[in-house]
């Protein structure tokens, strides 16, 4: 793949991939590492896609997998206790809703991000997260309930 093609792909999807990775990792360093790996994989795969939606969905599926890989790696399991992981979270703004979303479990955060930010349907989220539709719907439902519990009924979902 030529460099200008790679640059075009990167510029088009960098924020999408980075923000999704951040939603899962909650820190800039990991999100940037994952983003780099996703694009490395994209350029190496030299795939052709039917349309932009397919390409974006593929990138997000790889992003979700890379995020899960990072968190299940032995290195992280052995070296980053939960408390420490929470303490390195880099939440960028003083924003109650954002803080509440970031306090959810990782799978919940990812589902919320894909649904409310990327605008994906349950079926599409299921494919990206490699879950059944029922499982994806259940994750989103539980995430909403937790957000309501944290932020009260004034939260509009």
């Amino acid at each position: 793949m030529k460099q200008d093609e790679m640059a075009a792909i990167y510029d088009k999807y960098k924020n999408t991939v980075y923000r999704t990775a951040f939603a899962y990792c909650r820190n800039r360093a990991d999100a940037e590492d994952i983003m780099q790996e996703v694009f490395l994989r994209r350029f190496a795969a030299a795939k052709t896609f039917e349309d932009e939606n397919s390409e974006k969905a593929w990138l997000l599926r790889v992003t979700a997998n890379k995020c899960k890989d990072l968190f299940k790696s032995a290195w992280r399991r052995y070296n980053v206790p939960l408390e420490a992981a929470a303490s390195v979270a880099e939440i960028p703004q003083d924003n109650e809703v954002y803080h509440a979303v970031m306090a959810l479990p990782a799978d919940y955060r990812l589902a919320v991000h894909l649904f409310y930010y990327e605008g994906y349907s349950i079926a599409e989220i299921a494919r990206i997260m490699r879950k059944t539709e029922a499982a994806a719907a259940a994750v989103l439902c539980r995430a909403r309930k937790r957000l309501k519990r944290m932020l009260g009924e004034e939260l509009e979902l």
Binding site: K14, R28, E32, Q36, D69, W75, R76, Y78, Y116, L157
Partner: protein, 364 residues
């Protein structure tokens, strides 16, 4: 208070500018995904500028299974396929592999080899191999095959052993492919499908012995062997969450089918024919007086786009619950359709006539 607050916060986040340079120049890319607890150093990938302004991805920055993506389509210098029978979906496997926490490399007088990627969902075990020949044996050849023995939980599985449930595995193959980015270098895989009894549920040390290395290509007569046996061990931590067992089944008009298992390594599917077919003795008599059976029914599986699923192992013949069971390469699909065709009869397009079909919705 609503989710727009979340959207506004997310909108404000962008990756650092240096990431763009690193990704596009492929320099100093930090690969952290597959770190293990002993590996604290950051892996640095290098970039190779290709002539004509293009860019090649540095091979060292890719995992072993990444390098095997598309190997089925590659041809060697003589026009032979590297291995068109390798049906593994290496793309799906590469997304879920791990660097083993402990792996020892090994060598003989002709080659060195190490296992640096592992995929294990408990039922399927794929070992990603890399190494180098000391002579230029892969100049003309795309692949080298070998016999192999793998010891898992005290059970020895042999590549050339019988293939049935009693032996503890349903699939076993191994090969080394020429690594185009390195002279004399190779990447490869050993694939093992384990039965329930021998499935890997806990971190386990696997012993591997490769022997008869040098069966250069399935299309070729056996050549001289490439040195003595090579043995190594690798520790494997299974991720059983990679494997779904939906156990979807249908039975209608005597046709039955089951979806046993879905993982990045394989989709395990089973089907059986109606009893009337098994007992049918009807024949077709052709004008020249020759005859053939009226029915010859075969079942095939298709993804949501109508593409046929690729069987992983043509030699496998398993029966489970009265079904003929076969592993297929992973396909990213939300539906699976099974079609029974009678190959003795054609439809209007000249294709074998479909006599029954059923679609499983995997999202339910």
């Amino acid at each position: 208070m609503n989710m727009d607050d979340y959207r506004r916060a997310a909108d404000s986040m962008e990756p650092s500018e240096h990431c763009r340079n690193e990704v596009l120049n492929m320099k100093n890319i930090r690969i952290t995904r597959k770190k293990n607890h002993r590996m604290t150093a950051v892996l640095i990938a290098a970039a190779v500028m290709a002539a004509g302004g293009g860019m090649l991805i540095a091979a060292d920055s890719l995992g072993t299974f990444d390098k095997l993506i598309g190997v089925q389509e590659k041809k060697d210098a003589r026009g032979f396929s590297y291995d068109k029978y390798d049906r593994n979906n290496y793309e799906a496997i590469a997304e879920n592999d791990e660097i083993p926490e402990e792996s020892l490399s090994a060598s003989n007088e002709k080659l060195s080899v190490s296992c640096d990627s592992v995929y294990c969902d408990g039922s399927s075990l794929l070992l990603g191999l890399t190494g180098e020949f000391y002579e230029n044996v892969m100049k003309d050849y795309g692949s080298v095959h070998f016999d192999c023995e793998v010891i898992v939980n005290g059970k020895t599985h042999e590549l050339r052993g019988a293939r049935d449930w009693d032996c503890g595995f349903w699939r076993f193959d191994g090969r080394l492919y020429r690594d185009e980015s390195r002279e004399n270098g190779f990447s490869g895989s050993i694939c093992l499908g384990l039965t329930e009894e021998y499935s890997i549920t806990e971190p386990t040390v696997i012993e591997v012995r490769m022997y008869n290395i040098g069966d250069l290509n399935w299309n070729e007569p056996r050549g001289s062997r490439l040195g003595d046996d090579v043995s190594f061990t690798v520790s494997v931590t299974p991720d059983t969450a990679l494997r779904r067992t939906p156990m979807l089944s249908m039975e209608q008009d005597g046709f039955s089918a089951k979806v046993y298992e879905i993982s990045p390594a394989c989709i395990m599917l089973g089907s059986s024919h109606p009893e009337w077919y098994e007992a049918n003795t009807e024949t077709i008599v052709y004008p020249d007086g020759t005859t053939s059976p009226k029915y010859s029914i075969h079942a095939g599986w298709y993804d949501e786009n109508g593409n046929p699923l690729e069987p992983l192992d043509y030699t496998m013949d398993l029966d489970r619950d009265g079904c003929h069971v076969c592993p297929y390469a992973y396909a990213d699909t939300s539906r699976l359709t099974v079609k029974w065709v009678n190959v003795q009869e054609q439809d209007e397009n000249g294709s074998p006539k479909v006599i029954y079909e059923y679609t499983f919705d995997l999202t339910e």
